[in-house]
Amino acid sequence: MGLTGGDGVRDGDLQESILGLENLRTCFYTQGAVVRAVDGISLEIRSGEIFGLVGESGSGKSVTALSIMRLISSPGEITEGRIIFRGVDLVELSEEEMRRVRGDKISMIFQDPTAFLNPIMKVGKQIAEPLTLHRGLGGSAARSTVLELMGLVGIPDPEQRIDDYPHQLSGGMRQRILIASALACQPDILIADEPTTALDVTIQAQILDLLRELQRELGSSILLITHDLGVIAEMCDRVAVMYGGHIMEVAETESVLGAPQHPYTAALLESLPQLSQSKERLQVIPGNVPSAVTPPPGCRFHPRCSYTEAVCIEKMPSLVQLADGRQVACHRCI
């Protein structure tokens, strides 16, 4: 199979939605309390784009990703909403049917490549698993495809490395192994959950470059989850800003980062260190991330927002589309 044979992204495909979340709600039931980790979000990821999902720790990014994979385990549960992938609602699929989607149509890579690789299985075998499972490849066919994949993700001397164990490789190489395994079946969507957080800064850049390159070559869409606005600026076509289980703003990366409309996005950008103003103190957003058990009424951000009005406390703003195409959930913009 030609792994590099993809003809890249055609402009016409860019507008086609490949994955849509509609009012997705995922809750965790813990000792009498219900944690609404993802609280009714709607998103659309288009074919061939890199879509960023940015937010602080605990804002619900990873839970969103695991919900799409249907890998939320007890005591968590998708309680509401739909996940439309190529016209099919993933929430409605049986576990059996969902397994055929995972690793084949939608695959996922994670934060810490060391923890997310099986320490006592050869890396080649770990890459080959989805090929064996979804493509029925075994033996030498699987091996040659694995070697091809290892070359594709930039592992030098794949022949030497294929029978290595994870601890024999560096962190960056381990993440490349996870990427190779996730891309083995040329998925339509790759979900990358903080793929560079556990890596050295120099390696981070290499991995991001690799992801972008592979995305161009294979034409997959990427859902890139990060807390790092720098990564978003570098990588993403469009971005959604998440806060307290809600989507605050969705738009093209340049417009979100260049002219944020939501006060939270603006505050987030102001809190970034800037080289030109190194002497000044960093701006911080006052207050704390809201509790997911007892979220504030109305807009989740109102206790920390400098524009709060009465309506913000009373009513939760819905995500509305502005004239320039961006979507914002803020009463000020309506």
Partner: protein, 320 residues
């Protein structure tokens, strides 16, 4: 490090260890109270006979002379003759050891085979009914003394039903009688072994199931069954092998209680009888043979570990 180098270096390390053990075994026995020369004569001991035996067995010699004499015999695999039966010791020790292994190895394997499903099922659904039941069973298995389960089984299967022999080792190897006489003692050991192994496997399975790489495996589309079989169990089985080693050491040391209850002529029983009889040469031989056996088992466990866990096998080649 090369596997062969590893094994050779471990064996070489064992030589001073075993040498030290010979000293300990010898000295400890010599300072024990009780005079074999008197004991063997029973109630009608005479001072003359005691003096004669003391001289005959060399018990009047200084300790270091006796040690050197004993050690030089040991190095020629000559442990002397039993003070009690006057038979050569080594063949006796070896046949008793073989009997212990005949009882112990099936028991260990049986316990492990029982423990794997118990451990896995309780780990998949922690705090479920199955888990609670297996926890209770394990508690019972571990709490009831092995001689008690042994006696109960004898009472029921041998005395009441009369289907299995009460005790002793009957028949020749692989004969029906031999197998029948093995059943009760093996089951008594299996109960304890399965209880211990099952708990160990449950906790290591639980730990592994919550590891991140299990999520990776599931994200690839593997079924939970496959994930358990190919990812979780191979990782969880590692501590299990430590348990196997521990059990094996127990068997080598003789399952004294089980052997006593079932009159099974194993090394534990021989050990116990020899100590009661102050049959020093036999006790020494038992102790040394067992120590050597334990050393070999430890070696085997370490090699198995290195084989199963590449992180140990490749220690020192990291970052090449």
């Amino acid at each position: 490090m090369n596997m062969m180098d590893y094994v050779v270096s471990r064996v070489l390390q064992g030589i001073p260890l075993l040498f030290g053990i010979t000293i300990v075994i010898f000295v400890v026995l010599m300072v024990l109270p009780g005079d074999p020369a008197r004991l063997i004569q029973g109630e009608h001991a005479t001072p003359e006979m005691t003096a004669y035996l003391t001289e005959k067995w060399g018990l009047d010699q200084p300790l270091h002379i006796r040690y050197v004499r004993w050690l030089s015999g040991v190095l020629r695999l000559d442990f002397g003759r039993s003070l009690w039966t006057n038979r050569p010791i080594l063949p006796t020790v070896i046949s008793h050891l073989a009997n212990s292994l005949l009882l112990g190895i099936p028991a260990i394997i049986g316990g492990a085979l029982l423990a794997i499903p118990i451990g896995v099922i309780s780990a998949i659904k922690p705090n479920s009914k199955t888990d609670s039941l297996s926890r209770l069973a394990a508690l019972v298995g571990l709490s009831i003394p092995i001689f008690w389960t042994g006696l109960l089984m004898q009472l029921f299967f041998s005395v009441r039903l009369g289907v299995l022999p009460v005790s002793g080792m009957a028949g020749t190897l692989f004969s029906v009688e031999r197998i029948q006489s093995l059943i009760l003692p093996v089951v008594a050991v299996v109960i304890v072994g399965a209880a211990m192994d099952g708990r160990v496997l449950r906790s290591s399975m639980l730990e592994v199931i919550n590891k991140e790489f299990i999520l990776t495996a599931r994200a690839k589309g593997l079924s939970m069954r496959e994930v358990l079989r190919t990812h979780a169990l191979p990782n969880a089985i590692l501590p299990f092998f430590t348990m196997m080693g521990l059990h094996m050491r127990m068997v080598l040391g003789g399952l004294v209680v089980v052997e006593a209850v079932f009159a099974w002529p194993g090394i534990g029983l021989l050990f116990w009888q020899s100590v009661s009889n102050r049959d020093y040469p036999t006790v020494q031989a038992c102790a040394l043979v067992v120590a050597t056996g334990v050393f070999l088992v430890n070696l085997l466990v370490d090699i198995t570990y290195a084989y199963l866990d590449p992180r140990i096998r490749f220690a020192g080649t990291e970052g090449r």
